[in-house]
């Protein structure tokens, strides 16, 4: 029987902590390190950067590789990541450069390409899932379109001996399926195995989510050593998966934490779709084996979806946010009055009256959606948010909040403003034969 494979989940989002990945390499006894860095809209921003002549891969790639590559190479740990962003080949070139600088010129670095379907989508003008209408009906130019591709190009690169595989838009769980398929020799029709791989990837893709991050609640849900929170390790034997962590790091892997992550961002648990397989976790069981060791078993695989999901990025104007605080008796009431006053002024202003805008009272009802202001709430913060087609218009609206200090309720202080450009994504679907993923070694 093939020996179990150990994969470390070394990152869960773009700017995640680097220390835990280093801990996984030094103390985790892992065979592979999976680094997931690419949220839905991150890639659209990178596509834009690439078109304007800046690097299309994730900005801190050099720093991460300088930190992780030497200890990985020393222990023969191979890295699979979507850090390639909009330019996997460029990213692979940079990783080769770092490798040579560190005296690791023997490392083989592969790039997975073909997820960029921008030109194809522009030509096809497909119907978008959210609107039910064609892309062109948006009246906004398409900035980028990327298809979610599966694990098998990455697997082929690993079969050919790649030490680092850099992809762009691949399904997150595919980053775990690839090393597992490489190790166990799984093929596209091994559906239950691919479901186990998908579950493995799902448990690793959010890194600290599986070791007690986003779980801990002081004094109630206790997680030791949160400041040194480690990241998860999946130990896969081909039948089931054991989630664990290093003994050197903080954190907690118990049945509660693991089940929280298993359900994270899930719709119908029997119908979790990825490019490689449709996973059903309805019969999955979680069993605590010992300290920081939980076994998950029972994931079932069903045929993969016929079409590949594509995310289309378009411009979504400028978002402006302004805030000001109130303290003392009736602070919440004064923040509410501030909101009512600014809204009346903006609704009278023809330049912005029809724009989407929203007013919140932070500390009362901004996230606790059913909250109501009371006079004994002594600390409250007014917040307004507006979306405008251009920066000047957004700034114009924010200036109305700025005037609250001398034209609004008593004692407003701590004004802040922020303006940022935004993108939004729409989903559409392409027949598989229209998307041609590929991989190559880069020197």
């Amino acid at each position: 029987m093939t020996k179990p494979l150990r994969i470390g989940g070394g990152a869960g989002f773009l700017d995640d902590r680097v220390e835990p990945a280093l801990d996984l390499l030094e103390n985790g006894g892992v065979d592979f390190l999976m680094l997931e860095h690419l949220a839905e809209r991150t890639l659209a921003l990178l596509q834009e950067a690439k078109r304007s002549g800046r690097p299309g891969y994730v900005g801190n790639l050099r720093y991460r590789m300088e930190t992780l590559l030497p200890p990985a190479a020393e222990r023969g740990v191979r890295i699979v990541t979507n850090l390639g962003g909009a330019d996997p080949a460029g990213a692979a070139g940079l990783v080769r450069e770092v490798a040579k600088e560190k005296g690791l010129g023997h490392l083989k670095v592969a790039a997975v390409e073909g997820d960029d379907v921008t030109d194809l989508i522009r030509d096809l003008d497909p119907v978008l899932e959210e609107t039910g209408e064609k892309l062109s009906a948006l009246g906004t130019p398409l900035l980028c379109a990327n298809a979610y591709i599966g694990a098998f190009e990455m697997k082929d690169a690993l079969d050919a001996g790649a030490d680092v595989v850099l992809a762009g838009r691949v399904a997150d769980p595919a980053l775990a399926i690839a090393p597992l398929a490489h190790h166990f020799g799984w093929g596209p029709d091994d559906l239950d195995a691919l479901a186990l791989g998908t579950m493995t990837g799902h448990m690793l893709e959010c890194a600290g989510h599986t070791t007690g991050g986003n779980y801990v609640d002081g004094g109630r849900r206790v997680v030791p050593g949160l400041d040194r929170l480690g990241f998860p390790i999946a130990e896969v034997d081909g039948e089931s998966l054991i989630v664990t962590k290093t003994a050197t790091s903080g954190g907690l892997v118990d049945r509660h934490v693991v089940r929280q992550q298993l359900l994270y961002e899930l719709g119908d648990p029997s119908d979790y779709r990825t490019p490689d397989v449709t996973m059903d976790i309805g019969e999955v069981e979680a069993e605590e084996l010992g300290r920081d060791r939980v076994r998950l078993s029972g994931a079932k695989g069903k045929a993969r979806p016929e079409k590949l999901k594509v995310l289309c990025g378009v411009d979504n104007g400028w978002l402006g946010v302004a805030e000001i605080s109130y303290g003392g008796w009736n602070a919440a009431g004064r923040a509410k009055l501030a909101a009512e006053t600014v809204e009346k002024r903006l609704r009278r202003d023809p330049k912005v009256s029809n724009l989407p805008m929203r007013f919140d009272i932070i500390g009362v009802s901004s996230v606790f959606v059913m909250g109501e202001p009371r006079e004994d709430m002594y600390d409250a913060r007014f917040r307004m948010c507006i979306r405008a087609p251009d920066k000047d218009t957004a700034q114009h609206a924010l200036s109305e909040a700025e005037t609250l200090a001398t034209n609004g309720p008593a004692g407003g202080g701590g004004k802040t403003q922020a303006l940022r450009r935004t993108l939004r994504t729409y989903a559409t679907f392409l027949p598989r034969d229209r998307v041609r993923p590929s991989w190559r070694m880069v020197d």
């Binding site: 359900l263 961002e265 899930l266 719709g267 029997s270 309805g282 029972g298 901004s366 939004r424």
Partner: protein, 118 residues
């Protein structure tokens, strides 16, 4: 029967996909799964979040895992793409659901300091 906050017998995590929000809800003790199944129905959660959830709420039961997955549509004012809300992802929604009251039998276990009845 005494009431406690759901927070005293269960925990949860919220996620998002566009304008859809999901909350995984898990009792601390497996034996409370039935109590939650009876009281924290899809209808009850829809009523609880009536102010912000405009679409249907579906509860998926996972009796083997002793967990529930609530899927709420049109729940995030457009979601991370469009919402002007402070928490456009709705990450705070699980903690808010945990402030829902449930009835428990006299003397029933609940987590200390987590919203149990006095």
């Amino acid at each position: 029967m005494p009431k406690v906050l759901l927070n005293a017998i269960a925990h949860g995590r919220a996620g998002d996909k566009g304008n859809r929000s999901n909350i995984g809800l898990i009792p601390y003790r497996d034996e409370d799964w039935n109590l939650i199944a009876t009281q924290v129905t899809a209808e009850a959660v829809k009523r609880y979040f009536a102010k912000v959830v405009k679409g249907p709420v579906v509860r998926h039961d996972l009796p083997k895992l002793k967990a529930f997955n609530f899927v709420m549509d049109e729940a995030l004012e457009g979601g991370v793409n469009d919402a002007l809300a402070v928490d456009a992802h709705g990450k705070s929604r699980a903690s808010i659901l945990l402030c829902m009251e449930v009835e428990v039998p006299e003397g029933h276990w609940s987590l200390t300091g987590a919203g149990a009845a006095d």
